[in-house]
């Protein structure tokens, strides 16, 4: 009976809730712009939303900037995949940020100092980050150390190791205080660069991301491994009763989650779009991934669209006229939207309740099943 009703479907509810979140975020952003400078608020919001379509009369530029948005979406989408994968096993992998950082270390060190082939660089990043995930999972499984606590500590350990290794003269250009360019063999092969206005940052990272998302979706929904992981996530006791190896599943889940986060780092930094600078804070990417994962309704495919949206708005901030607005306003808006992402489930519940209330009114004299 419910199946006929589109609104009754959980998938559609999630989608609707996510869209609502995005809209609310934009409205709140507009209110902030209005508070700061009412005269130019609508114009500012328009600039953010119009984004790279500003270049719509010049298709080369348009495609170029669209390409850059795609490239920058890759790491946040993959971090979201990492987080949602662990989440299915009932683990909150806040350590994704640290695993991502370890991925940066491995990919840039092998890419700058060792000048390995790009494929090996990716592999190094994936393995290093998987190891980082393993540490977290090991402590969780065998000593019941909360993965959030262990993850946060490992984040900082990763950051300082990163600063030490990438800050060394073999990797860091001491005068510019950023890493050297990634060596030529370590750069990712191009992908449809011609189509995207000769954007040199367009690489195979983009198709890889899509393939990974589909693969994760497949593993979670179709395989016995995914079935075990989800069972462990929902109920550790029932999983144990069923004879599943909960310890192994916890570790594997965090190892895979870490590997994906490491992949995210390598697929970003090996494009050369950004150089690593010594930082005193853990890369934001792992945390933005949490928001994107939720905005995407914890669905591997949903995360792609959520990641694109978040990155679109983030980059849209650059189109704000800084004469009228403090450049931090864009960040603030993103923060609000990301904050609202956490309410996806909340919106979903509200929707659900409304639907039940409506179906009550609309149906008279149902039958007992």
């Amino acid at each position: 009976m419910n199946n006929k009703n589109l609104f009754g479907k959980p998938g559609f509810q999630t989608l609707l809730a996510s869209v609502l979140c995005a809209i609310f975020g934009i409205i709140l952003g507009l209110i902030i712009l209005l508070l700061m400078n009412p005269q130019h608020a609508f114009e500012g919001m328009y600039a953010i939303l119009r984004n790279f379509f500003k270049y719509s009369n010049n298709s080369t530029n348009l495609m170029y900037y669209m390409g850059s948005t795609l490239v920058k979406s890759v790491p946040v989408i993959l971090c979201a995949e990492a987080i949602l994968f662990a989440y299915k096993t009932g683990l909150f992998n806040i350590g994704a940020a640290g695993q991502y950082t370890v991925g940066i270390i491995a990919s840039l060190y092998t890419g700058i100092a060792l000048k390995w082939n790009w494929f090996l660089c990716i592999l190094a990043a994936v393995l290093a980050a998987a190891l980082w995930g393993f540490i977290c999972g090991f402590f969780k499984a065998y000593f019941n150390v909360n993965e959030v606590i262990a993850g946060i500590m490992l984040n900082w350990i990763a950051l300082y190791i990163c600063n030490i290794i990438l800050g060394s003269p073999v990797c860091m250009n001491q005068t510019k205080s950023e890493t050297y360019n990634v060596s030529a063999p370590s750069m990712l092969p191009g992908f449809l660069r011609g189509l995207f206005g000769n954007n040199n940052y367009m690489t195979i990272a983009i198709p890889i991301t899509i393939v990974v998302a589909i693969a994760i979706s497949f593993v979670i929904n179709k395989t016995t491994f995914g079935y075990e992981l989800k069972a462990t996530g929902h109920s550790k006791d029932a999983a144990k009763y069923a004879g599943m190896n909960a310890k192994r599943n916890i570790i594997l889940s965090l190892v895979i989650s870490g590997a994906i986060a490491g992949l995210a780092a390598s697929l970003y930094y090996l494009t050369g779009i950004e150089h690593y600078k010594i930082s005193s804070s853990v890369p934001q990417m792992g945390f933005s991934g949490i928001a994107v994962a939720f905005l995407g309704g914890l669905n591997p495919i949903g995360a792609i669209f959520a990641g694109l949206f978040v990155e679109y708005i983030t980059l849209g901030g650059q189109y704000l006229n800084t004469n009228y607005y403090n450049p931090q306003v864009a960040d603030l808006m993103i923060a609000i939207i990301i904050y609202l992402c956490g309410f996806v489930l909340f919106f979903k519940n509200i929707l659900n309740r409304r639907i039940i209330a409506k179906s009550r009114i609309s149906r008279e004299g149902g039958v007992m099943k």
Binding site: T223, Y241, G366
Partner: protein, 515 residues
């Protein structure tokens, strides 16, 4: 005109796909104990939720003292003097009894708690109704029966005059049940009106004045308990005649299937063993029951037997093979089926669909997956078949999330799954817990059928009726030890009770051994 405290007239409440309450009328007289009887999923809980303002009914009105009232949320219900003892207590474990009682309506002066008066009131109430509660004890330190009395005090402290008891005896020992019955009678004698939700007919016969019966969401009528019989009540509830005795022939035990030798299990609570030197065997074609009062090591023993917890010493043999220390998976796939005590914690992944739960121990078998990829259509077929064979009812069939199913149907799902799996030994712990007589009858029949088909059955039960009716041999467990083995056909309930309370034990021969 009758003096009704609460009247619920023609209540109809629907959920998508189901009419939970269909034109139900319930009238509670002042000072009576009114039982509300119905199978699982008959709509008892929904009706109470309506009374508590948790659900708004589509049709029907509620009257308090003859005046129509609208109950929009639990606060309205409280304001009308309606209080409820939930099946699962709503107490803060680390608070004292007194703190729990005043919680939510703390007496205060200038923002400071003034507990002295509250204490006086609690003590007075405790005295008046003979509740014997120590206001300074921590909840976590007192027995379940005492915790329930705290819940009762909570209602009395709030001057509630309509008291609802939701299956209050499910968690109590026989002695505690007797005490509760007495308390309920005292309360009614003092003018409180009691609504007593249950599906235990003996208790209704013992304590209730009138009884309203629901079946599948419909109102079946209200009867005077004094002028009815258990048989009549149960046929009104189930819609057919129910047998109370289990039909079974003499057991024909064959070869030994399970042998347990000197098993000890460490306790998590104290330094003594939770299970101490337990030895017995179970043969094919017989039902062996471990009886005992809750908390005497039965749970720990089964956990250790299945591998959920560790054995500290001793050996377990299945068909002559030493399976001590084998993994749970190994035991699952080598002939043990297990209906667990706690269906929510162990038996089911509540957020999984019915079909996913049906293959919980078998998802990796070729029937349900190949190359590690699940075969969804096989899952669906299998689940549908079991649901049909075992009459498992659910809103959306195989895709129903198990959490949304009624307790009885959840239990049926587990029973169906465990009986359908290839096994030689069935370990059934409280297989009929929380079920109504109709469902109990079905499950008992299925267990006897299992036995007759040559399976060995180890039954662990707290229900004496079940123990006496179903088993071929009874082992009584007390403080972690088997203190006696009795024949259900020869033993009396009184004698069994003596074993269970530790007053009697077999010493001469080694209890539990068949030879």
């Amino acid at each position: 005109m009758e003096d009704y405290v609460i009247e619920m007239l023609h209540i109809t409440k629907e959920f998508p796909g189901i009419v939970a309450n269909d034109d139900i009328t319930l009238q509670l007289k002042r000072g009576e104990i009114h039982a509300l009887l119905g199978e699982n999923g008959a709509g008892k809980s929904t009706l109470m939720s309506v009374l508590f303002g948790l659900y708004t009914p589509e049709k029907g009105i509620i009257k308090k003292d003859g005046k129509e009232v609208r109950i929009k949320d639990p606060n309205d219900a409280t304001a009308l003097g309606i209080g409820m003892v939930h099946q699962h207590f709503m107490l803060v474990d680390v608070f004292t009894v007194l703190d729990n009682i005043i919680l939510g309506s703390e007496p205060s002066k200038f923002g400071f708690l003034t507990k002295a008066e509250a204490r006086k009131k609690v003590l007075a109430l405790s005295e008046k109704y003979n509740l014997k509660v120590d206001p300074d004890a921590l909840i976590e330190d007192i027995t379940v029966g005492m915790q329930q009395r705290v819940e009762i005090l909570k209602m009395l402290y709030r001057d509630n005059e309509i008291l609802i008891f939701d299956e209050p005896t499910a968690v109590l020992t026989p002695q505690e049940i007797d005490e509760l019955m007495k308390i309920m009678k005292d309360l009614a004698a003092e003018g409180k009106s009691i609504l007593f939700i249950t599906h235990k007919l003996n208790e209704i016969m013992a304590v209730a004045d009138r009884c309203s019966i629901l079946r599948k969401g419909k109102y079946m009528g209200t009867v005077d308990v004094a002028s009815t019989t258990k048989e009549e009540l149960s046929s009104m509830m189930v819609g057919r005649d129910v047998k109370f005795a289990v039909d079974k022939t003499e057991a024909v035990p064959k070869e030994e299937v399970l042998r347990v030798e000197n098993v000890c299990v460490k306790s998590k609570l104290h330094s003594e063993d939770a299970v101490h030197n337990v030895s017995f065997n179970v043969r094919a074609g017989e039902i062996v029951c471990i009886a005992g009062i809750d908390g005497n090591g039965q749970t720990e023993f089964v956990s250790a037997l299945m591998g959920l917890d560790d054995i500290s010493s001793g050996k377990i043999f299945l068909n002559g093979e030493d399976i001590t220390g084998k993994s749970i998976r190994y035991k699952n796939t080598h002939g043990i089926s297990h209906i667990p005590e706690d269906r929510h914690k162990h038996g089911l992944v509540l957020d999984y669909s019915l079909e996913e739960n049906m293959i919980l121990q078998r998802y990796f078998e070729p029937e349900f997956s190949s190359h590690k990829i699940l075969n969804k259509s096989a899952m669906r077929e299998y689940s549908d078949r079991l649901a049909k064979e075992h009459d498992i009812r659910s809103g959306q069939g195989a895709t129903t999330i198990v959490r949304s199913m009624s307790g009885g149907n959840q239990q049926k799902a587990i029973v169906a799954r465990e009986m359908d799996r290839a096994h030689k030994l069935l370990v059934a712990v409280q297989p009929t817990r929380g079920l109504d007589v109709g469902a109990i009858e079905n499950i008992h029949e299925e267990i006897v059928k299992e036995r007759d088909s040559g399976k060995a059955i180890l039954l662990v039960s707290l229900e004496l009726d079940e123990v006496m009716n179903l088993s071929d041999r009874i082992l009584v467990m007390f403080e972690g030890q088997i203190v006696g083995e009795v024949d259900p056909k020869k033993v009396t309930l009184q004698e069994l009770g003596l074993y269970m309370s530790g007053a009697k034990r077999d010493t001469g021969k080694e209890a539990g051994r068949d030879e």
